[in-house]
């Protein structure tokens, strides 16, 4: 049971480490070739052992699966391949028993066109759900709203033969937008939220929140009405379910994303999107500016809020999803760099992205775990799993979790041909080489390193909620900062370069303290009045607790 995140801690999410799981790809309990909820429940011991605090589940609702489950056809039931409601209840109970929390994806903006609400709505213009979606006679309205999936959609309007009207959709045409101007829709979605919180989920990652409302003369993003609805949702949640978390996916510039925190009365958490590419860029450039620049442009957030930060997730890194300004910057920096061009905008897992250089992967995690925010890990990255870019779309990073060198990576006992996706079998990243079983045995594995880092992070709540101060260093390849909360002070020194580097740190403020290296608990020489000198190996980092020197 976690020592840091306790059940009665209403702000647990500020110090938690999240672990993103694709139910389909984690573990197959009934050998039908597809991962399922009972399978995930069976593997909770592993997740607990790893030392994360909260599982984030990709959508597990009933769905025709034309958009990876983000096209929900019934908010109140589970996709049969994954199990049923009883399986969710059991998963939540078993997780809570281990001190783990669970949040799940929820799509507020739209449903599948197979959802009974839409089926009813499209019947005619007078049925009880006629106004649950956004209908119009022509397709000219709100032309200022951009088409997000430009590759597949020509317009945000699609003609419905049955109702003889156009319906509005910000994403795929099989995902009609709900009409939030209709009070019945507003209440129906409150009911959805309450239903799952009653079952015991600890919160939601809210997918595509900026688009709930439409207004003339606007681009339909981040409208005041959307924020107003989120405030009401938050109030409802806080009133009946204190300590549950709402995590917004608003893929925007940090200065705009902060609006989704409101005054601490909208979402508890928001993803920080631009930090991730900047971390990769800093290592590619071997200098800290890409990171310090984005930190300087990240506003303060209200009390009780937290950023969600990540290196990789189930989505590709699309530059279209960050602001124009950032996209231009990324293109200027990288358009001519074939390696980055290949990697940015294409879904890769962490290990292949860093060319399987374990030092780089460790440095990136050290940065992730020590930057302001709650880290989100992606299943499989803890063992250094690879990807299969030939699977196309986003499936390349959704291959089965590699549990053992056994058949089907130990993921399923189904026939190979029955698997939802083939496990990786290449000589470098394949399950024969990379799997949980082998890494549990090998104390020097990726997995043990990750577990150790999570243990250390857990001992210092300041990584979640402490202040952050950049320490000036002349060497541009060295990024140094101090995290501080109360009496606890941790100094993080990172070498972004492939070469060994020296750094002189002006630590006069901490003169008299003794740095204690946190992974090995080795005390370093006491800090004096002179600059503190450290040498760093290639891509290495130190976390030093600056402890009062024992007398």
């Amino acid at each position: 049971m976690s020592g840091l995140v306790t059940p009665d801690d209403l702000r647990w999410y500020q110090r938690a480490v999240f672990y993103e799981v694709l139910t389909r790809g984690f573990y197959d309990s009934n050998n039908d070739g597809t991962g399922d909820l009972p399978g995930l429940t069976e593997k909770l011991d592993y997740i607990e052992w790893l030392g994360v605090d909260c599982i984030w589940l990709l959508p597990f609702y009933k769905s025709p699966l034309r958009d990876g489950g983000y096209d929900i056809s019934d908010f109140f039931s589970v996709l049969p391949e994954y199990g049923d409601l009883a399986d969710v209840v059991r998963l939540v109970e078993e997780a809570h028993r281990r001190g783990l929390r669970i949040i799940a994806d929820l799509v507020m903006n739209h449903t599948s066109d197979q959802h009974p609400w839409f089926q009813e709505s499209r019947q005619d213009r007078t049925n009880p759900k006629a106004d649950w979606y956004v209908w119009n006679d022509d397709d000219h309205r709100w032309s200022e709203a951009r088409v997000i999936f430009v590759d597949t959609e020509k317009s945000n309007w699609t003609w419905d033969q049955q109702r003889q009207q156009y319906y509005w959709h910000r994403f795929f045409s099989h995902q009609p937008d709900l009409n939030y101007d209709n009070p019945e829709v507003q209440l129906a979605m409150f009911d959805v939220v309450k239903f799952w919180l009653d079952i015991g989920l600890d919160g939601f990652r809210l997918d595509a929140v900026p688009y709930l409302y439409e207004r003339d003369g606007t681009n339909g993003e981040n409208l005041p009405e959307t924020h107003e609805y989120l405030r009401r949702l938050r109030k409802e949640v806080d009133a009946s379910f204190p300590g549950k978390v709402l995590l917004a996916e608003a893929n925007q510039w940090p200065a705009d994303v902060v609006d989704y925190f409101g005054d601490g009365d909208e979402c508890h958490m928001c993803f920080h999107f631009p930090l991730m590419p900047r971390m990769f860029m800093a290592i590619r450039r071997e200098q800290r500016m890409p990171i310090t620049e984005i930190l300087a442009q990240t506003p303060e957030i209200p009390d009780g809020c937290q950023w969600g930060i990540f290196l990789r997730n189930h989505d590709e890194l699309t530059l279209e999803m960050v602001s124009d300004e950032e996209r231009d910057y990324m293109y200027t920096e990288y358009a001519k760099d074939p390696r980055m061009r290949r990697n940015i905008g294409i879904g890769r897992r962490l290990a292949p992205l860093v060319e399987n250089d374990r030092r780089v992967a460790e440095l990136l995690h050290a940065l992730l775990f020590s930057m302001p925010g709650s880290p989100v890990l992606y299943y499989g990255d803890e063992i250094g799993m690879g990807d299969n870019i030939y699977l196309g779309d986003r499936d390349g990073v959704r291959t089965p979790m590699q549990w053992s060198p056994d058949r089907n990576a130990g993921f399923s006992k189904a026939d190979f041909a029955q698997l939802y996706l083939p496990p990786l079998m290449d000589p470098v990243y394949g399950y024969q080489a990379v799997n949980v079983e082998a890494e549990v045995r090998d104390k020097s594995s990726n997995l043990h390193w990750m577990k150790r880092m999570l243990e250390v992070r857990r001992q210092h709540p300041l990584f979640g909620t402490g202040s952050m101060e950049i320490i000036p260093v002349e060497n541009p390849s060295v990024l140094t900062y101090v995290r501080e909360e109360g009496d606890d002070v941790v100094l993080c020194v990172n070498n972004l370069s492939r070469f060994a580097q020296p750094a002189e740190l002006p630590l006069q403020r901490f003169a008299g303290r003794t740095p204690l290296e946190l992974l090995g608990r080795v005390p370093f020489p006491r800090i004096g009045e002179l600059p503190y000198f450290v040498t760093l190996g290639p891509y290495s980092f130190y976390w030093f607790q600056l402890a009062e020197t024992p007398s």
Binding site: E286, Q287, M289, Q297, F499, P506, R509, E529
Partner: protein, 433 residues
């Protein structure tokens, strides 16, 4: 407060040991012209020194402790100790954290800090960093009528150029600027170090095109060009625009070229270049410039490139430093700096490797030079500062590059013969064009 007579005894020796002291020998006499105690325990001294052709004025700040209890902070800074007078150990007050902290309140009334540290080796000033938030630059060699750094930084900010550390206070006294306090940019990195970082990456990389290399510097160089142009526009706005005189440039360049060894350059080519310069009809405008512009004078901060140190070359007379000239003088200074950086990074490599890397050095230099010029010209075009036609612009730029390279050749020949090849190769390249 220590009395003037005692100070005059120890100052000559002390001054001769300071990096910021202009002379080369121990001065025979010094005169304390002003003395005060702006904060308790800190003796402020204005001291005149006879140099060969006039009088130089220095600012010295002195702390004291009983000689029997030498403070720990002077250890390792013996050059900062003036000596012992009447049982008191006198030392440079900036070494004393207590006095350095009080000094902040003198320069910026009401301002306080918890921690102070000296910034390290500097040529002509002494800087103190407070709480990693403010930097106080104490001018050592004083010029009557105000310090050009103070003058320019204040004017640039007033004219809307924000890429200088924001000034928060100036300590003036009579005719002198004594110190300036500015915001300190904690996350910043110097252009020179960033360039070397990029170069080391490129030299070690398994690729021959700097554009395809992770540490590519060109986007930074281009942004630096843009900032440089905006700096010049603000300087022109603050200090005025003047006509340029290519004839005067030609004369000065010829004079400088004549100081070279006869075999350094092709004399005929040099003469042809000077004629080409004389024939320039549109030389662009002359303005107040930075004057000592190179990669060590620019900082990359989270808000882009910042420019520092507007004092010009400290060894030149003030009148020469503030004289209007072509903004391309600064541009030339920066592109010379790209050249030096690329070659210094070669010299870091093992001897057997250097020859193989040399072509990479040139590629890096040219790529970043082009990117810098592109950023500069894009932002400066249409401001009237530059010659309108490209050929004249190239000639004027080459003029200042040549002038700078000549100066470098003379310097390297005297002090660092191993480096002589860097400016010589530049001279030859420029004259071959």
């Amino acid at each position: 407060m220590i009395d003037a007579a005692s100070l005059e005894k120890v100052l000559p020796d002390y001054l001769s040991r300071q990096r910021w002291y202009g002379g080369t020998e121990v001065p025979s006499t010094v005169r304390v012209r002003g003395i005060d105690e702006p904060v308790e325990g800190l003796t402020w001294v204005l001291v005149d020194v006879d140099s060969g052709d006039g009088t130089d004025t220095y600012q010295v700040v002195v702390g004291h402790r009983p000689a029997t209890e030498p403070p720990g902070f002077v250890q390792g800074h013996e050059e900062g100790v003036l000596g012992t007078v009447d049982g008191l150990l006198l030392y440079d007050a900036i070494l004393d954290p207590g006095l350095a902290l009080s000094l902040l309140g003198v320069v910026v009334p009401g301002e306080k800090a918890e921690v102070v540290r000296p910034m390290g080796a500097e040529q002509s000033n002494s800087s103190l960093v407070y709480d990693n938030r403010l930097v106080l630059k104490l001018f050592r060699r004083l010029v009557p009528g105000g310090n050009p750094d103070v003058e320019v930084v204040t004017a640039l900010v007033a004219n809307g150029f924000e890429n200088v550390p924001r000034p928060v206070g100036v300590w003036e006294r009579g005719d002198y600027d004594l110190a300036i306090c500015q915001e300190f940019l904690a996350e910043a990195a110097e252009g020179w170090s960033l360039a070397l970082t990029s170069l080391r990456d490129f030299y070690a990389a398994d690729c021959d095109d700097p554009a395809e290399c992770g540490g590519d510097f060109a986007p930074e160089a281009e942004r630096l060009g843009d900032v440089t142009a905006h700096m010049h526009v603000a300087l022109a706005q603050a200090f005025g625009r003047h006509p340029s005189d290519p004839e005067a440039w030609a004369e000065s360049l010829s004079r400088h070229l004549a100081k070279l060894d006869p075999n350094d350059v092709d004399q005929a080519a040099a003469a042809r270049f000077v004629e080409r310069l004389r024939a320039v009809v549109d030389p662009g405008q002359s303005i107040r410039v930075h004057g000592d512009y190179h990669l060590g004078q620019v900082l990359r901060t989270a808000a882009g490139w910042y420019v520092l140190d507007f004092e010009g070359e400290p060894t030149r007379p003030l009148e020469e430093r503030t004289r209007p000239t072509s903004p391309l003088k600064d541009v030339a200074g920066m592109v010379r700096s790209f050249h030096y950086a690329s070659r210094v990074a070669v010299a870091e490599q093992a001897e057997g490797q250097r020859q193989a890397i040399a072509p990479k050095a040139e590629k890096w230099e040219l790529r970043n030079r082009e990117a810098f010029l592109q950023g500069y010209v894009a932002a400066a075009a249409g401001t009237g500062l530059l010659p309108a036609d490209e050929a004249s612009r190239d000639t004027v730029l080459a003029t200042f590059e040549l002038d700078k390279a000549v100066y470098e050749v003379l310097y390297e020949r005297q002090y660092r013969p191993d480096w002589l090849d860097i400016p010589l190769s530049a001279l030859r390249r420029l004259l071959a064009e």
